[in-house]
Symmetry: C2
Subunit: 445 residues, 2 copies
């Protein structure tokens, strides 16, 4: 028995699936919890692509972290940016002022950002999709491309504006590219006078031999067929060697397209570097089987920022894994406080789902695999159920029903146009990049 | 009878109430219509304050102009910025490239922006509310203020963050200030641990002797009482003499508040200067009784950009007036094409409504005036009916029902935080302005 009352402080960095699961697992525990996040909201990442494709509004897939945790009285939320982790003094320092947040246990769930494999210069021309602002940016560029095509008097330029390249054949790339043709050809077609939006081309580029490499080959092949039916040109074995404002290079070939989106790779949050621990090439921290950092039993890393190999395979960087890890790390804290031994984490794969477009999806539960409309309904059901907040569920259901029956995209709002000025056409690629940068500078006046 | 077929080109600048009404009035006419707007959407301005106060999402009160006009085959929408009006050659020049859009008739409906009475330097500290981006900015500052108060360790600073000043006692100022206390005291209270959001102060400042000067005195007095009940401090006869990051000056008195919003005045769109015509102090163009510009019968100006005095009073700058004028100007074009004489515009005031907060509003129909819950239900009904788009109506109804029964604000998403960095507290006002500007520069890296 401790001779003085000890109420440990548990600090959680990151309010995504992992961090939120950790906080919730500590709900009735005799600890003080501080959840730190740069933003004020939880983002339901599996539906981010629907914001990017104008199907849902940003507020429909987000919920304020404070609101989610408002009844959990031992927990406070701090909207702040973690800048330093001082493992010696056991404090996290936040914001410019480096205000100190002391901890007894630290759970780091800072996630990942998209990565350009050493080509960060591609980012301005090929935004990725991790945060709600990214989704708004992709929506802005997608919708603006048609406005610019309508304004252009040049047929070749119009086709370039109506050509979209998605780099990366994982679930995000498949979901993004699968949604574009439908909106372009159905929802937008009656609205334009000078362009025929049914001529929209969507090209999905994958460096490996097939799309959806984490799914069984049969389901991935079905998904590729479905994408083809929807009008997506799928190109495998195609490594991107350059990204420019007006196209993407694959070796010596240039795909001419004014709009490119990036879904090809992740890097763990740079916050991982603050922990003096072994990391893999993607910056992920190698954690012990109890999810703690080797040498620092008081620090846990969960979700996309961590790497743990089980049965010869890494625990995948998906939402359900982050939830399981976050919850498990919190429970290991509680076990220790009860003077019980820690346990080792085991990932339970409850099944993989990927949606491909209207009425199509694939589902893999190991013991059963299926595709098409049943998988799509399952996908709808699961995503509505896991969406945080009753209000969001109702509103998203209505948006989906509206979109399904009217063939419309509900959220076709373009805002903050001045933040993205697409390049003009009739100059060389090199000049164009200069112009682009000049434009970027000017737009910051 | 004309000896050659003449199909006139009608160009409309501005896709607000006035421009859209003009376009719709030309639906089946034997003319070609081009509607030019800087944005891609119509904004339902009467509900902008609900986006600013986190009750509705931006996409719920906007609708793409193309989508609204998709079935009107003689009309095209051009997302572009009008830069020059060449009344000699009868062309509008748009965008950086000054691309020429020729017209036979021109209807200018470019609206107004908020104005700072020669004090544009106040704008960074007191954003106004005209476009959807303005509403997002106000929402961002309002919600961020509580996050910063929660982070602050200083009680005085916390109270300054929880004090909001709204300048201007017209309908927008009344609606904004009436919505804030409710959200702060009900929706936000359970979510914070270190601050008591029920201590939020909202101060409405009006330079004139009473709020809502366009309403009858009895209704305005009722509105002032209702605002008081809601917890808004109403100060009349108080002209603002200075706006700083941490407060507002009224003569020698400084109201300490970290967040100020501007609802005090409008200036007509600078586009009006492109027409070489007499303007009033607010930049509004004095139009002839047929709504055309004196000396230019082929150019009409409607909505907030125009000023027309009738029965000794100017036609008010409200949505219904803009709709009536836009439609009327278009019909004068059609009359002329049918070789009929033009008619003179008469504004028909169908009644004025203003909402004050949950369950309160005032209504003035001239022959009948009422306030309280009946006026509020009428306000709800009218605004749902006039909202463009079936989808928006359904979603807004659900948001309102949700907010009404749960006492919640549905859209508490903070995005693009880096665009607004509030100043730090413990320096003199002068230093603070410098810091602010430095911060603004840095945030543009």
């Amino acid at each position: 028995m401790p001779d003085k009352p000890f109420r440990p402080r548990v600090v959680i960095i990151g309010g995504g699936f992992g961090g939120l699961a950790a906080a919730r697992a500590l709900k009735r525990a005799n600890v003080d919890v501080t959840l730190i996040d740069r933003t004020n909201h939880f983002t339901f990442q599996p539906l981010l692509y629907q914001v990017a494709t104008a199907a849902l509004a940003p507020s429909e897939i987000t919920s304020p972290l404070r609101y989610i945790l408002r009844r959990q009285k031992n927990t406070e939320v701090l909207m702040a940016e973690a800048r330093e982790i001082d493992v010696v003094h056991r404090v996290v320092r936040v914001d410019d002022e480096l205000k100190e947040i002391p901890y007894d246990y630290l759970i780091v769930a800072a996630g990942a950002r998209h990565a350009y494999f050493g080509h960060d210069e591609w980012e301005p021309y090929a935004p990725g999709l991790k945060a709600i602002e990214d989704a708004s940016e992709i929506r802005r560029r997608f919708l603006l491309a048609f406005e610019l095509a309508e304004k252009s008097g040049d047929a070749r330029e119009q086709q370039e504006y109506m050509t979209f390249v998605v780099v990366g054949g994982g679930p995000t790339g498949v979901e993004l590219s699968g949604a574009f043709p439908f909106i372009a050809r159905k929802a937008l077609a009656p609205d334009f006078r000078r362009i025929d939006t049914r001529k929209t081309r969507v090209i999905l580029i994958e460096a490996g031999p097939r799309i959806l490499p984490t799914f069984p080959e049969s389901l991935a092949a079905r998904a590729a067929r479905d994408l083809g039916d929807l009008g997506v040109e799928v190109r495998v074995n195609s490594a991107v060697t350059g990204v420019e404002p007006d196209g993407v290079w694959i070796g010596a070939e240039k795909l001419r397209a004014r709009t490119t989106f990036w879904a090809a790779g992740n890097n763990a949050s740079p916050l991982g570097k603050l922990l003096d621990s072994p990391r893999d090439r993607a910056g992920r921290i190698q954690v012990s089987p109890d999810l703690s950092v080797p040498g620092h039993p008081e620090i846990f890393v969960v979700g996309d920022l961590s790497i743990l190999v089980q049965d010869g395979r890494p625990v995948p960087g998906v939402g359900p894994a982050a939830i399981q890890e976050g919850s498990f790390a919190a429970k290991n804290v509680l076990r220790e406080l009860r003077r019980q031994p820690r346990k080792n984490f085991r990932y339970r794969n409850k099944g993989d789902l990927a949606t491909i477009g209207r009425s199509r999806a694939i589902a893999d539960f190991g013991w059963v695999r299926f595709a098409g409309r049943p998988a799509w309904f399952l996908w709808l059901f699961v995503h509505i159920m896991y969406l945080v907040g009753f209000r969001n569920r109702i509103v998203v259901l209505i948006e989906w029903a509206y979109a399904y029956f009217t063939y419309q995209a509900g959220v076709r709002l373009i805002t903050d146009v001045e933040r993205y000025k697409p390049p003009s056409a009739d100059t060389s690629a090199a000049t164009r990049i200069d112009e682009w940068e000049t434009t970027l500078m000017q737009s910051k006046k």
